[in-house]
């Protein structure tokens, strides 16, 4: 048989094959053929962040983010006596295997979010002028920075501990790196630098007004304030330049952002409302369309078959709460059978909480934090009276008396105390101590572990790099 008839036959049939196409999909070039396509691609990233991350349908990325950033602190007490993904972090077991650790899903979901952000960023041409496309790029940059920041503070050591040399996380900034691409971990400093660079670029590109479920110029500034605060060194050995930046960005948000601290009843009902339209929220991960499960970790369902509500406000946190503090409203009576001493549960995630799921937003950046960031930065800049003024703003709003004459360590402790009270269960727990060179102290027993003091230099404060990832990428050094 000759090659000629073969090729003739193929020519005609190639045409028929070419007429077939995949359905219900959008070719990449079509996705980015219009400004709307860029917006849709970015909306998809928010959806991933709010829960739909592609790795494991049973695990919600946002829930993991909330839990992991709270787990190693002393705001919560565990009633859980078993070994599972939650206790793996809470009890500093750090197995790093996917059966018993959230690390695998969290790490991978994070990089999946980054892939999607990178795709959007890569498709924006140099010199692009279309407002919608630039807005999409800004949001993608923000979401990438947001994801890297969360990764580096969970997997990397506190910034003050030799950030230039200590390993952070992989910096993946391009798409389609080929099957052999296996980068090592960039240093903590490099990751922070990337986060800052992304946020600063993003801030200059935002040009549309959206709800606070979306990134905006001020959410970029707010996150920059937090990032610089994390870089600002310990109270005894502060880094002026970063603290100044932290204070400056906070000031920008406070003065120019148009946000307001909610007062009195509005404040007490803060967590019973959704974030859009709320004047205090700067950026929240909205979960209205997600089946968020974080509330069953923090409170026992009214009925149902699942165990839940095992992570309660700690005796330490409760001891800080003054009886007059309006923030008592954020804790409700919620009994888990067999635990008569731990009947309080946090209600910050019980919006729309039915039997299994909640639709509460993760209020990632809000105005109160800006005051507290600025207070701490100013304290480290030796501007104690201005720092005290900011703390008093928060105290006053919480229904507490204003303090005067506080200075030095007492002032610093008050700032940290207000952070703990104000931002409990919002993902700051252990970071506030460790980045300041302070130990995390649990003066109470939990389900599986007793009282403990964990130093910021202790490696077990770090989330383990997933075993499976290390097997795939031998360049990843373990924690």
């Amino acid at each position: 048989m000759g090659a000629v008839p073969f090729s003739l036959l193929f020519t005609s049939c190639n045409k028929q094959l070419d007429e077939l196409r995949p359905h219900n999909v959008i070719f990449e070039d079509m996705q980015f053929a219009s400004p709307t396509g860029y917006s849709e691609a970015v909306t998809g990233i928010y959806a991933l962040v709010s829960g739909a991350a592609a790795i494991d349908k049973g695990t919600n990325y946002n829930d993991m983010l909330i839990f992991l950033s709270e787990a190693k602190g002393n705001t919560i007490k565990s009633l859980d006596g078993t070994i599972n993904k939650q206790s793996d972090a809470f009890d500093f077991i750090n197995t790093g295997t996917r059966d018993f650790s959230h690390s695998y899903n969290f790490w991978r979901s994070g990089y999946n979010v980054i892939l999607h952000a990178n795709e959007v960023i890569a498709h924006v041409k140099d010199g692009e002028t279309n407002g919608t496309i630039l807005q999409a790029k800004a949001e993608a940059l923000f979401l990438r920075a947001f994801t890297y920041f969360n990764l580096v503070r969970l997997y990397g050591r506190p910034y003050y501990l030799d950030a230039d040399k200590s390993p952070g996380v992989m910096l993946v900034l391009d798409t389609r790196m080929g099957p052999d691409y296996a980068p090592a971990r960039a240093s903590v400093a490099e990751v922070y630098q990337q986060v800052i660079s992304d946020l600063e670029t993003a801030a200059s590109l935002f040009n549309q007004s959206k709800s606070n479920s979306y990134a905006s110029k001020y959410s970029a500034y707010a996150l920059l304030s937090r990032v610089y605060l994390y870089m600002g060194g310990t109270s005894t050995n502060p880094v002026t330049v970063y603290n100044q930046k932290a204070a400056d960005y906070a000031t920008k948000v406070i003065n120019e952002g148009g946000y307001q601290l909610l007062q009195n009843t509005a404040y007490q009902n803060y967590y019973k409302t959704d974030n859009p339209g709320n004047k205090e929220d700067i950026f929240a991960v909205n979960t209205k369309l997600r089946q968020g499960g974080i509330s069953i970790i923090f409170a026992n369902p009214l009925q149902g078959t699942r165990p839940g509500g095992l992570y309660r406000p700690s005796p330490y946190l409760k001891s800080l709460l003054d009886a007059n503090d309006l923030r008592n409203s954020f804790y409700v009576e919620n009994v888990t059978a067999g635990f008569p001493d731990d009947t309080k549960a946090v209600s910050k995630y019980m919006l729309g909480f039915t039997t299994l799921y909640s639709v509460s937003p993760f209020r990632y950046l809000r105005l109160a934090e800006m005051y507290l960031n600025r207070a701490e930065a100013l304290y480290k800049l030796k501007k104690e009276s201005e720092a005290l003024a900011d703390v008093n703003t928060i105290r006053k709003r919480a229904g507490l008396s204003e303090l005067s004459g506080l200075s030095g360590t007492a002032l610093f402790n008050e700032i940290l105390k207000q952070r703990k009270l104000e931002l409990a269960f919002e993902g700051h727990a252990s970071f506030d101590e460790f980045r300041n060179g302070l130990p995390m102290v649990r003066n109470y027993d939990s389900g599986k572990s007793g009282a403990m003091t964990v130093q910021p230099t202790d490696k077990k404060i770090l989330t383990p790099i997933p075993e499976e990832e290390r097997a795939e990428n031998p360049n990843l050094v373990p924690n």
Partner: protein, 1175 residues
Amino acid sequence: MYKINKKDLHWRLRLTKESIMKISLTALICSVGCMHISASTMAQNVSMKHTKISLKDAFKEINKQTGYHYLWSAQKVKSNTTVTVDIKNQPLEKAIQSVIGGLQLGYELDGNLIIIKERHAPAVREIQAPIIVKNELAGQQTIVVRGRVVDSLNNGLAGVTVSVLQANGKMLKQASTGANGEVLVENVAADSYLEFSLMGYQQKRIKAVENIGTIRLKVQTTDLEELVVVGYTKKSASEVTGSVQAISGNELRSSVSSPNVLSMLKGRTTGLYITEGSGEAGAKGEVVERGQSSLATPTNSYFGPLIVVDGVITNYKSLQDAVNPSDIENVSILKDASSTAIYGSRAAQGVIVVTTKRGAAGQSSADVTVQYGITQPRRNIRFMNSTELIGFMDKQMQRYWEQTPSVQTAYPNVADFIAQGRTYSDEDRDHNFNWEDAIYSTGNFRNTDVSIHHGTEKTKFYAGVNWYKENGILYKNSFDRKSIRVNIDHKISSKLQASINLSSMVDLLSRRNGVPELYMVQPFMDPYDATGKLRDSLQVNASFNYGPAYPQWTQNFLSEAKYDNNSLTKVQSHLGMVRLRYQILPYLSLQSSNSINYIGNNFNSYLDVRSFSGKYGGYPYLFYPGMTLPNGTLDINDIKYVDYLTSNTLNFNKQFGKHNISALLGQEWGKRTTETMTVNMYDILPGERNMGAGKYFGDVFTAAFGEPYSPRGNYQERATFSVFGQADYNYTRRYLASASVRTDATTNFGRDKRYGTFYAFSAGWMMSSEDFMKDVKAVNNLKLRAAYGTSGRDLGDGYLNTTFYANTYDGSTGIRYEQPNNVGTRISQLANPNISWETLHNTNLGLDASFFQRIDLTFDWYHKRSDGLLQNVVLSSAQGAMNQYRNVGQIVNKGVEIMLNTHNIKSQDFNWHTSFNISFNKNEITKLYQDSLIESSGQAYYRKIGEDINVIKAIRFAGINSENGNIQHYNLDANGNQIIVDGLGETSKLANYQVVGSLTPKFFGGFNNTFQYKNLTLNASWWFQYGNYVAMSLIKDFQSPTMPRDGYNNVAFGDNQHVWTGPGDTKANYPDVFSIDPNAWSSLTTRSSKLWGDASHARLRNVRLTYSLSQQLLQKMKLAKADIYVSGDNLWVIRKKDFVGADPEGARVGTTQYSGVSTGFANPRRFLIGVQLTF
């Protein structure tokens, strides 16, 4: 199909290569599609004039002039005998008569084939003097019988033995027919019978009458050499150079009873590893041929062979969907490249060729088969009763109290702790409901087949209808099949033939919704209340962390019997094929096969609003008072597959002296479209289960949480275009060679990489035909075979080198954010620009031998190498943490297969046949493009080069710590030394995982014995497999310390499980089940080698006793054949002593489901009685 008897020495045929090719062509037909050829017939008349022409050359000449081929079956007269012929424009039959008239030869025409054969008797022969048995005829009326015996073409048959028999079968005398088949027998008792017999023809018996008219004898078609379908051609078995096994439909049907041919194939052939993990009615089973040579992907987890039905390449993934067992003529298993390469990109996993029944010329008969049977559950485990379960929970709480000082402080007295924390009540002690009997009970099935065969020279047809109905063992589980098949062959002219196949199968599988698994119900949960009425829901108490019990509810499926709370799966499969063959020249024909295959899968699951389940949509706990309830739910899922396939081939075959050459050139276009649709509805009109009956779209979660919902659907189209060629050569059928090549273009890999070319070479040597073997009397047949070739893997997914975004997400809320109408997009497929074909390189060496007329042996050795193994790889985070199809490595499967058939006892009244087969396979990863492949179930360990693709690794069990009841395992310490630790030790240290074994057996096979005594036949079939492991997950899941407290039941410990009882118990082989110590029962996970069970077993799959009615009775009843039989399936299982599970059936290969049967049920026991009648 024409078959030649190979067993009878008198009829040892000397088939010319040419004639064989012609036979293969009789089934082939000519194309209409793209070529237009005017239909003109060849001359039917013959002219020739020769003196001293050899018989062979004379028939060659006839062949040239008429297109009729010839088959030589005479022994005594050599084909080089010379004759003198002088004919002019004579019709064919006259011409043949002129050639063979002077010799002791006869002939028969079959299609365009002339079969030349010996005459059994002298050409002219006087009727022999009757042998009169005096006494018996005395006083009786006698008659003179006259008539004529002919073949299907009315040629008189000479030498037919005419036996005069009494009604009891006793022979009175014998005579023979004359030259033209005339019969004349005198002195025949009026009430006697006449039996006509001639070698090669079916016997016929009639009542003796004076004028018997014309008696037509049919060609004997059983026990003859099979023609085997190989690719686009048929070959006689002796010509096959590859590894092909054919099993007749009759053999398949004489074993286990099932609507699934796959089940019947188990143990009958080598190389097919078949698992039947579910005994539910309508379950389909799984098959892997010669080891797993590909990896499962989300869209293509089918590892079984390509299924070809009557020459049509199908997309069926189960033999159950492809064909009804009663319609099967035979099934061929193609295993090596020479047989499969011609199927190109789809044949890497082997090919199963199903040939359905067809009519034969001169045949007119009807068959009726009726079967009725019962099925019984057969499970080697049992769940705890109330006393056991309550005792277990008490003891567990006691141990918890002992282990937890804080509890001892709170409850100084353990009894108080148990009283406070227990989940059962005192009343529960008096309730013990046998859920096993409620959920599994005796089932039954009935099967009715009716079929008709009919054929004239021009038109032949087969028609069959079947109805199978099974009421399964599982509560209200049923399977109903109705099928019809019509196969027609019609000769339009001597040059143009048509074959038409039509088949329809309609299956209805019903499964009750809400029937719990046994572990989900506790024995003291009583479905009846105090007054004996069925409760609408069942309450069970669960406790959390030993706090006070809280109630949960589940529906009581028993109370919902009056509502149709079931899920129905309707499968409709229709296959129609028209094949035309046009004989252009005697040695050249054109054939076109065109088929349409429709497979519709409709799934309809319903919960009635009037039932408790329906009210809450099956999830009562989701709804608190005041919430809007689902009030009945309906889920409809519809998948439609439409396949169109056209294959057009040009076939050539010709003999040049001793060289026989045949070749084939073909082109094929196949397209498949798949359309899916899923709609969920709630608030349903009672008793209605159609799309118009729902008030709201959505599922139970939509109802409970008010989430956005939209119905889902998809449409896929894919196509393959192929060109192929094949050439076969043989030299006097002693040396055989074959080669083929095929190029496929598919939509799988995108435009640039869509082509895959596959080829094969093979050769055979018929050693027994060599002169030096002639004197070796012990060897009847000896053939050596060798084949090498390639085939490809059809992935199922398309356009893999392209990145796609999608705005849908496989979840109810989709990819929306903040506002329901704010829909985003996400990457649904990440491009892999380098992806290419997975290619299988297949080498096969084989030997066929038979000895002493009693022993048949087939031996095969194979080596299969899969290059460019395709896997849906979990990408590392650096690459986006998605899944992507990649070529990841190479696997080799190698093995040995032996099939041994022996006729152990051969006598008139008693015969004993044995068939034994065994298949060894070794799987090995030989290359990996990355360092290792992660095991996909627990992702606990990695598979490396040199290991089995299904290797199981776990931390090695070391024993039980006799002091504290903990389980112990071997670990490696920092220096690599082996140490024993309590619990699992370091689970994240990969070096601690050691090879346990593989999911697939080292060998498996079948052992069948048939004993025949007069009219009785006893058949027994065994299956055995050795060396495969399954996860005995019931130990971890349903023998757990805490599951009973969560409201579940536990499996009672078996005699082979000695659970640690207390300090000093050195005999324990299981740890302390009551301890909450993480190093005790909690360490019994799949990471522990203790949890992996050796599932080697042997199973007596079937015993059948058949009684065949005697000829006399048949004659009385006007029947050709009548069998009655009783049969039992799955009668005995021999398994490993320490195996824990309901059944040792192996786990499904290639998936992440490693548990095998566990607590479910597989392989019920069946007993049936059947009757088979042929009219």
